[in-house]
């Protein structure tokens, strides 16, 4: 427990009152100051003051800030970052013709370094044609099925997640800026409600750990704010790129709950809300995490 003034007062410390607009008494612990400069040239914004009314965070921090310095160093250099190998692989898929229409991604979108700049920063976002809030994965599969005549990719599968990384890296350094109003508002509100709902036999919400206790250790791990600006994320734990919904699923599972399905509108809404909590942070994926 890091809140020294409450040390020894078991009762007070344990009461982690959550109510909109009240002063928090929980124990957020700010990470050590550190600068994420990729390849010695591009500095990422890893902390930002969030806009009013989105969360109870005084400061939003990129998850990179909570990691050990060795892990941080790996993400600072694209030659060290194993996530970049997958980006290379995705470029092959980008140029590969697939499906009945004889098209590749490149057939319509040209070079990702040109056409995909800024895309990741604004997603999830309302898609007028689909009539709902869509993620990059949904857009990829929409292209594959309606324009290419190809089979959809598995939502959290390798092809999908690496392609997402290729698209994300084109926005690296740009501020996350998802819209939460207009047609996206109800999805955003639903996502927010999910964020604060205590699920499973452990009765934990996202906020229980990632808003009330970021920076604190849970067993051997230091809790981050659960920001998603660095996804897809290369995890040392499983040696591959991990998607946002796969991570969400793992977290919900760890509350001993019945999880939501990756790609479900529930998780899309949650993704929109969680993304908005990091509006202003740099898109920094592919990140490197434990």
């Amino acid at each position: 427990m890091k809140n020294k003034s409450l040390n020894g007062v078991f009762g007070l410390v344990a009461v982690t009152t959550f109510a909109i607009g009240t002063v928090s008494v929980w124990a957020e612990t700010a990470p050590k100051p550190a600068k994420l400069v990729v390849n010695d040239e591009s500095e990422m914004v890893t902390e930002v003051k969030p806009a009013e009314g989105i969360s109870h965070l005084a400061t939003a921090y990129d998850g990179w800030r909570f990691r050990a310095s060795e892990t941080q160093a790996v993400q600072s250099d694209d030659f060290e970052n194993p996530g970049m190998i997958f980006v290379e692989q995705a470029l092959d898929n980008w140029n590969k013709v697939d499906g009945t229409e004889g098209k590749s991604c490149a057939s319509c979108h040209g070079a990702p370094e040109e056409s995909m700049v800024g895309v990741r920063a604004s997603y999830p976002k309302w898609d007028e044609t689909m009539g709902k809030v869509a993620t990059i994965e949904m857009e990829i599969n929409n292209c594959r099925t309606t324009r290419m005549g190809a089979e959809p990719w598995k939502y959290t599968g390798g092809e999908m997640t690496t392609m997402n990384a290729l698209i994300s890296v084109q926005s690296r350094g740009m501020p996350v800026n998802v819209a939460i109003d207009g047609p996206a508002q109800s999805a955003w509100e639903h996502g927010k409600e999910m964020y604060y709902t205590r699920t499973g036999e452990l009765e934990l919400s996202c906020a229980s750990c990632h808003e009330q206790h970021y920076g604190d250790k849970i067993r051997a791990e230091t809790l981050s704010q659960g920001q998603i600006n660095g996804f897809p994320s290369y995890r040392l734990k499983n040696g591959k790129l991990n998607s946002i919904h796969a991570r969400f699923k793992g977290c919900v599972r760890d509350t001993r709950a019945e999880t939501y399905k990756p790609g479900s509108q529930d998780f899309v809404d949650l993704e929109l809300y969680v993304a908005s909590r990091g509006n202003g942070l740099s898109v920094s994926g592919p990140s490197v995490r434990n």
């Binding site: 344990a14 009461v15 959550f18 499973g200 036999e201 452990l202 067993r219 919900v252 709950a257 019945e258």
Partner: protein, 157 residues
């Protein structure tokens, strides 16, 4: 009656007596301050078993969130909840039993899980599988494990 059948009858009687003494989840009586005065089983707790449950990821895993100096042989204690050093001095046994059983009766908004509860959950799952709860669903700790944990915690003075 044959001796074997007699033996069986005695066993059934003994089992019934045991389960009658064990308070079921949901039937625990909490005092206004959240404490639970009566043992959940009537069987004294085993502090060594309680210590093991507190340190084991597969049982209580209390140290995931709480630091306990006496258990420094167990690696990686968390910082989410308060240190449990001296908890046996700050609280009575009944208060500790209440907190371990279901801390929300003592601290309404605590994030501490309720260790002896089986209903009122949102999307309860089958342990850590991510699947929906099924007929194997039970409390996080058994009644006797609660008593074991309590019997260890009261020694932390």
């Amino acid at each position: 009656m044959k001796p074997a059948v007699l033996g069986m009858a005695a066993l059934i009687a003994a089992t019934t007596a045991l389960s009658a003494a064990e308070v079921e989840p949901g039937k625990v009586v909490f005092a206004e301050d959240g404490s639970v005065a009566t043992s959940l089983t009537g069987v004294p707790g085993d502090p060594a078993a309680g210590r093991k449950a507190i340190g084991s990821k597969k049982i209580g895993n209390c140290v995931a969130c709480h630091q306990i100096t006496e258990m420094s042989d167990v690696p990686f204690h968390g910082e989410i909840g308060p240190s449990l050093d001296g908890v046996g001095e700050r609280y009575t046994e009944a208060q500790i039993r209440g907190i371990v059983t279901d801390a929300k009766h003592t601290f309404a908004d605590t994030i501490m899980p309720s260790f002896y509860k089986v209903d009122g959950f949102i999307r309860p799952g089958k342990r850590y599988t991510g699947k929906a709860a099924d007929e194997t669903f039970g409390p996080l700790l058994e009644a006797q494990q609660i008593e074991d944990v309590v019997s260890y915690l009261v020694t932390l003075k």
